[in-house]
C-alpha cells in the first residue's frame, strides 16, 4: 500500500505492507534510525515519536494508519543539523543518558510535556516519562535533565504552552500542495 506521511514537517511517500509498523517504516524506508526498536510490543518506550505533538509508540501503529498526522521523530527536534534542542542539550549537561538507547524516547516525552507545561512538578515529570524504561541511569538524572530544560525554557522567549502548540499545528493540506519543509527543519 502507498502511504504519504508527514514526518518532521515534510511529506514523504513509501510503499509498505499493511503489517509494517510506523517504527519499521521510519527506520527502514526513511532511514530515521533515531527511533529505536526495543520490545516491539509497547512496553519499553524506546520507539516513542510525537503524533500531532503527543508522545506515542511507533511500534503500536502501522504506517498505513499514520497518514494525515504530523509525525515528529528525534531527528526533527533540533532547529538545524548539528544543533541540539534545549531538552537534548539539558540531557547532555546533566548526564541524563548513558547507553542512549532510551534517550530519544525520553527526550520526546519530555519535549511534549514541556510544550504543554513549562513549570512541571517532579510528579508531572515522572508521570510524563513513566512509559519509558531506562536500564542505565536510575532515572534520577533524567528527571534532573527535564527540570533543567524547563528552567532554561522558562528563561528563553520562545513561544510555549497551549498557544504555541496551536500555532505550531501543521497545515497538512498546505504541505500537500507545496511539499515544503516547515519552520526551518530539514
Amino acid at each position: 500500500m502507498k502511504v504519504t506521511l508527514s514526518i518532521n514537517g515534510r511529506l514523504r511517500e513509501a510503499d509498505v505492507e499493511p503489517r509494517k509498523t510506523l517504527l519499521d517504516t521510519l527506520r527502514e524506508d526513511f532511514l530515521l534510525v533515531g527511533s529505536h526498536a526495543g520490545c516491539e510490543h509497547g512496553v519499553c518506550g524506546a520507539c516513542t515519536v510525537l503524533i500531532d505533538g503527543e508522545p506515542s509508540r511507533a511500534c503500536l501503529m502501522f504506517a498505513v494508519q499514520a497518514d494525515g498526522y504530523e509525525i515528529t521523530t528525534i531527528e526533527g527536534l533540533a532547529l538545524a543539523p548539528g544543533e541540539l534542542s534545549v531538552v537534548q542539550d539539558a540531557f547532555c549537561e546533566t548526564h541524563g543518558l548513558q547507553c542512549g538507547y532510551c534517550t530519544p524516547g525520553m527526550i520526546l516525552a519530555a519535549h511534549a510535556l514541556l510544550m504543554r507545561n513549562d513549570t512541571p512538578s517532579r510528579d508531572d515529570i515522572v508521570e510524563a516519562i513513566s512509559g519509558n524504561i531506562c536500564r542505565c541511569t536510575g532515572y534520577g538524572q533524567i528527571v534532573e535533565a527535564v527540570e533543567y530544560a524547563a528552567d532554561r525554557l522558562r528563561k528563553t522567549n520562545a513561544p510555549r504552552g497551549p498557544r504555541a502548540m496551536q500555532t505550531d499545528q501543521p497545515d497538512v493540506g498546505r504541505l500537500a500542495k507545496t511539499d515544503a519543509p516547515r519552520g526551518g527543519r530539514s
Binding site: 500500500m1 516491539e40 503527543e54 501503529m61 502501522f62 508521570e127 512509559g131
Partner: protein, 293 residues
C-alpha cells in the same frame, strides 16, 4: 515480533465497516491498537483483515445526553482524561483514567477499545460496571444497548459477536448535589495490570446521610464486579462500619489465582481497597458539600 500479513481497510462510515465485518468473520476492528497490535506482534491474533474505525466521526466525541454522558467508542482516552465535561459530570471516570496504561498509550488508546477488549483488570470497564453504564453495539442490522454487567462475560470475553462494533458507552450521571468518588489499585508497577482495583461513588445529603452508593472491583475475578453496598444507603457515613459491610460483601467472591497473586490475597486486598475507595468517596463528597464531620 512482526505481525502476520493482513489486509487493511479504512471504511468511510460505520455502516460500511459493519458490512465489511459481516462479510468476513476473520476480520477484526482496529481503533487505537494499543492492545491489538502487541497481540498481532506476538501472533496471538492473526486476523485476515483489519477494519480501521479510528477516524469515523460518528463514533467520536463526548456529549451530555439527558441523564447520561455518551462517549463515542473511538474517543481517545487522553481526550476523556482532559475533558471538562467528564471532570464535571463523570468524576469517577476522570479519577480512574490516570491509572489506564501510561500517557503514550492513552494518547492512542480508545474508550471503546478498552471496553471491547474486556480485560478483567482494566479500569474503564470497571467504571462502566460500577456506574451501571450501557454499551451501545452496532452491526449490520442496527444499534442495540446492553447493560455493562451483562456485556462483560469473562476474561477478554464480551457479548460482542463477529460483525459487531462497540459504538458508544452511556455512563449515567448522578444528579445528586454532593457526589464523591474514590479509586484505588494495586499492581506490580505503575501502569501495569491491576491485581485488584476498586472504584466507588457515593452521594450524600447536607447532613452527611448517604443517598446512594456503588462499589466495583476489578482484577479480582474473571470480570469487573459490582459489589452490594446497599446497607450504606440511608445511613450516616460515620455511624456504620464501611469495612464490615465491604468485608461481608467480598468474603465469598470468586477470585482468580495466578503467579502474581493468590485468590486469598486478591479477596483480602479487594476488601481493603473497597473500603478505602468508599471512605475516600465519602470524604470527597463531604468536602464538596462543606459538611464537616
Amino acid at each position: 515480533m512482526k505481525p502476520a500479513p493482513f489486509d487493511y481497510v479504512r471504511p468511510d462510515s460505520l455502516a460500511e465497516a459493519c458490512e465489511v465485518l459481516a462479510g468476513d468473520e476473520d476480520a477484526r476492528i482496529i481503533a487505537g491498537g494499543q492492545t491489538l497490535i502487541p497481540m498481532l506482534a506476538m501472533r496471538l491474533a492473526r486476523p485476515s483483515r483489519l477494519v480501521d474505525v479510528l477516524r469515523l466521526m460518528e463514533l467520536r466525541g463526548i456529549s451530555l445526553d439527558g441523564d447520561a454522558i455518551v462517549i463515542g467508542a473511538v474517543t481517545r482516552q487522553v481526550e476523556v482524561e482532559r475533558s471538562e465535561i467528564v471532570q464535571r459530570w463523570l468524576p469517577l471516570l476522570a479519577r480512574a483514567l490516570p491509572w489506564v496504561g501510561h500517557p503514550p498509550t492513552r494518547n492512542r488508546g480508545t474508550v471503546g477499545g478498552s471496553i471491547a477488549n474486556a480485560d478483567p483488570s482494566a479500569e474503564i470497564p470497571l467504571v462502566a460496571v460500577t456506574l451501571g453504564a450501557e454499551i451501545e453495539i452496532a452491526n449490520a442490522s442496527g444499534r442495540t444497548g446492553m447493560p455493562a454487567d451483562e456485556f462483560f462475560i469473562g476474561p477478554m470475553l464480551s457479548s460482542v459477536m463477529p460483525g459487531d462494533c462497540v459504538a458508544a458507552v452511556r455512563f449515567p450521571v448522578w444528579s445528586h448535589p454532593h457526589v464523591g468518588t474514590g479509586f484505588h489499585e494495586v499492581s506490580a508497577r505503575q501502569s501495569d495490570f491491576a491485581f485488584v482495583a476498586a472504584a466507588a461513588q457515593v452521594a450524600i445529603d447536607e447532613r452527611g446521610r448517604c443517598l446512594d452508593a456503588t462499589l466495583g472491583l476489578g482484577g479480582v475475578g474473571d470480570r469487573a464486579l459490582r459489589i452490594d453496598v446497599t446497607p450504606l444507603i440511608g445511613e450516616q457515613a460515620g455511624h456504620v462500619s464501611i469495612s464490615d459491610i465491604v468485608r461481608a460483601a467480598t468474603e465469598d467472591l470468586e477470585a482468580s489465582s495466578d503467579l502474581h497473586a493468590t485468590a486469598d490475597y486478591r479477596r483480602r486486598v479487594a476488601s481493603v481497597l473497597g473500603t478505602r475507595a468508599l471512605e475516600d468517596a465519602f470524604a470527597d463528597a463531604r468536602s464538596r458539600s462543606g459538611c464537616i464531620q
